[in-house]
Each structure stands twice: as structure tokens, then as C-alpha cells.
Symmetry: C2
Subunit: 266 residues, 2 copies
């Protein structure tokens, strides 16, 4: 039988709430995985869930007990929460009764195993977790070899990144590094660098996006930094026929990635 | 001087809250436009704001008074709300002190003025307001002539459509109609119909997306209906190299639209 927590003052309940904050995640090295779909994907991708908190009164379907068994078999400690305690720890509008805690991981550039013609995505200082999560989804859909987050503003283990990535965070290799290190590493490996900016003439469809390639996207508010503007093999833009700012960084990323996929598979 | 409302029980305050619900929007023919950016865009696009509610204690910048003047000059009635009253009527996490009420509009297929080579987007039964808003942004960015919403599930005047469209709702022509009517209208005008589905062989990049064209996207949960599967000129798919469902309908829409733009401008 799993332990049951009913007190809102229980220290573990309080830690679950604190794990929404970056400081607690950084200090503990843990992060939250909330929701049936996300927990299932984490297990599929062999994320070592440390704890799985559940509350049957919030369950939406019939498959939750099987998922609990699967998590326990994989080594997660199961803990039941009262309805009120679960409502307190959930960061969703509509809790579905499942919230896991897992250890964070860190990948380095050296650990990446790339083919001979890698397609990489470099994102600079993305601010909104929702955008970073969507970008991870797009990278996965385009078969990107790794996403390299330069000069990270948003913590990739933010609960809203986990959520908006729909679990892609568990499968796409993500490396966090500073721009200078990433640039030197790309050059050393002969990987071309194409960066997107509105302030250039070349269309993204006119650039050669085949071969070993890193596509670089700037931040929401400031766009590309001078560093990448000066140190990229080429700069490309997406044509804007609508209102000036109708494309956000996540939309620009998916457009550019799928043009690369088109060119590479044509 | 603008009237000031402090009571949370004021009938106008109550109506603002009710306007979040579709029933009230349908009955009144009104909708909400919340936020500085959205109100500014509505004014730019000549949306006839009926009322503009404001609360200086929530203002985030310094340009709000000028926007109030501009709205009043355009015919909006200004009403001040107390901080508490504004918090009650706001549907945002962080109110910025501006909330307008505007009359809805309806466009018909017959009213659309299309060029000789129109690019149209048809979306079927989209369920999530956030997706519909993002789709409107994508359509604007791709220079689509009109977005036709078939068998609408989400009300296009839902506050979250207004918000996630970042005001594009005010500029892109949107028509709501049933699928059979839309299909007959497209055929009559010689507009090709390309529909996207995972269950076909032809890649979206292999189809001819030039000429008069309507791109049809299905709903989040059910995909394309049998009607469009059977009644389209061709069916195309987006290659999926990542996790099976990492692309959502908004992402699939922007990929397909920008491939059409590429082909049409190459």
C-alpha cells in the first residue's frame, strides 16, 4: 500500500509546490512531470521517476492504475495524496491526478552522437517556457539531432516547458552551453551555421540547408545577438507578407526546420 | 470625465464577466478585446469599439492615456473601473488595465474579394481557441486571402482566440460556413482543394500548391472529416520523423502554408 498524505502542511507537499520555482529545481536537481500523458512518455523514454504522487479522485480515465504499476516497477515510489493536497501541488487548471518528480539530467556537446550530416537547432536566450516547449516539439518533428540552448534564460526543466513540449523534452537531446563554446564546437566539426533575422535579404528558401547544419534562432524580444549575427555562415529571413510581428520565434523555427527537411529529402 | 464603477455587483461589470461565455456573446453580438496591444490593433484596424474600460492602477506603461484618447475619438465610451472591479472583469493572469467591448461582425463567402490566384485556408471544427488564434496568425503571416472556418466548434470571438491571434482576428477575413457550402463555392470558382491527412502517400512538398488554392486542415482530435477526405483535389501529408503526434494542427498549418508561399514565389 502506498503512503497517503492528507496534510497541506506536509513537507513533501510543500517541496512539490516549491519545485515550480527555478531555485528549488536548481538546488535539488529535481523537476516535475505532471499529467497522464507526460508521465507515460517519461516512462517510455526511461526517465527514472523518483516519486509518483497520485489521487484517484482526479483521474480522468481508466488507465491510471496500470500506469502506477508500471512506474512502481520502474522504481518510482508511489504516494497517494488527498484531493485537496493534490489540488495544492498541481500546477494545471485541471489536475488529472498524476504528478511525478524526476532527477534532471545534463548533456554536454561532447556527448552528442551525430551522424555525418547532422541537422542541429541552436536557440538563443528563449524567454517563454511555452515557446521553448513548442520549439522542442518542432525539433523532434523535424528529426533534429540536438537542440542547443545558448545562454539559457528559461530553465528547460520548467514545468511549462515539460508540458508544452508534450514530453519531447524526454527524448530530444538538449544541451545547454554558452554561445562562444557552441560556435567553436560547430566550427571545429565543420557544421555550417545559418542564422535567421529579419534584417537580411536572403530568403530562408534560397539558402542551402543541406549538409551538416546548425540553424540559429534568436530570442523573442531581442532577436539574434551580435555574436551570432557576426559569426554565422549565412543570415536568412522569412518573408513577411502579413502584419510585421505575426510570426513568433516558435513559428519561425518550425518554418525554417521544415524547409531544411524539404531540401534534405528532395 | 469618464464614469467610474467601483461595485463588483454593477450590471456592466457582470456583463463583462458573462461575455467570456459563448452564450452571452451569441445573444449580445458583442465580444471582449483585452490588453493594450489588442486594443491598439483593434483601433488600427478600425474595429468600432463600443466601450473601453480602464484602470490606471493596472497600467504597465505610459502610453495608455493616449490610447484612451484615441479610442474616445473613434467613438468608444470610456469607463473607469476600480482596481478590484478591473481584476474581476479581466480574464488575464496579469491585467494591464484595458478591456474593450466591440460588436462582432460576420463575413460571407460572397463578400470575399479574391485575386485571380487566391490562397485560402479552410479549417474544420478546430476545438482549442489557442490553436485557432495561432492559425489566424499563421494565415496572416503567409498572406492568406481568407480563413474559412467550417462547422465551427470554437467561437472565433472567444477571448482566447482574440488573444492568441494577437489581433490578427481584426485584419484577416474570416468566414464561418458549413463544409458543403464551402466546397460548392470553391468548385464553382475553380479553386483547387488540397487537404492534409497523415493517411496518404503524397508529401505536401510534392503537391502543386500554386494557382487558386484552398488548403484544408482537420480538427485536433478527429483530423479531416470523410467529407473533405472524399471531396478534395488531392490529399497530402507532412513527413513525421519524430514522435507520432509531435505536430499539432497549428504547426501543421504553418508548415503547409509556408510551403505554398515558397512554391508561389519561387
Amino acid at each position: 500500500m502506498a503512503e497517503k498524505i492528507t496534510s497541506l502542511q506536509n513537507p513533501r507537499v510543500k517541496q512539490l509546490v516549491r519545485l515550480r520555482e527555478r531555485r528549488e529545481r536548481d538546488e535539488s536537481g529535481l523537476f516535475l512531470v505532471e499529467g497522464y500523458r507526460e508521465v507515460r512518455r517519461a516512462l517510455e523514454k526511461k526517465v527514472a521517476l523518483q516519486d509518483l504522487y497520485f489521487c484517484a479522485e482526479w483521474f480522468l480515465g481508466e488507465n491510471e492504475p496500470a500506469l502506477l504499476e508500471q512506474a512502481a516497477a520502474a522504481g518510482a515510489q508511489l504516494t497517494e495524496l488527498s484531493k485537496e493536497a493534490f489540488a495544492k501541488v498541481s500546477y494545471r487548471d485541471r489536475p488529472d491526478g498524476l504528478l511525478a518528480v524526476a532527477p534532471q539530467w545534463k548533456r554536454t556537446l561532447a556527448e552528442l552522437s551525430l551522424g555525418t550530416q547532422p541537422l542541429l537547432l541552436v536557440v538563443e536566450s528563449i524567454e517563454k517556457p511555452g515557446n521553448l516547449g513548442t520549439i522542442l516539439r518542432s525539433a523532434d518533428a523535424a528529426g533534429v539531432g540536438a537542440v542547443i540552448v545558448c545562454d539559457a534564460v528559461t530553465d528547460v526543466f520548467n514545468p511549462n516547458v515539460v508540458r508544452s513540449s508534450t514530453g519531447v523534452l524526454f527524448s530530444v537531446p538538449v544541451v545547454i552551453a554558452d554561445s562562444a563554446t557552441v560556435h567553436a564546437w560547430l566550427i571545429e566539426r565543420g557544421i555550417g551555421i545559418v542564422a535567421t533575422t529579419p534584417d537580411t535579404k536572403l530568403l530562408y528558401t534560397q539558402a542551402d540547408l543541406r549538409g551538416p547544419l546548425a540553424i540559429v534562432m534568436g530570442s523573442e524580444q531581442y532577436g539574434l545577438s551580435d555574436f551570432w549575427l557576426k559569426n554565422s555562415s549565412s543570415l536568412v529571413r522569412i518573408p513577411m507578407v502579413g502584419q510585421a510581428d505575426s510570426l513568433n520565434v516558435a513559428m519561425a523555427t518550425i518554418i525554417t526546420l521544415f524547409e531544411a527537411v524539404r531540401q534534405r529529402t528532395a
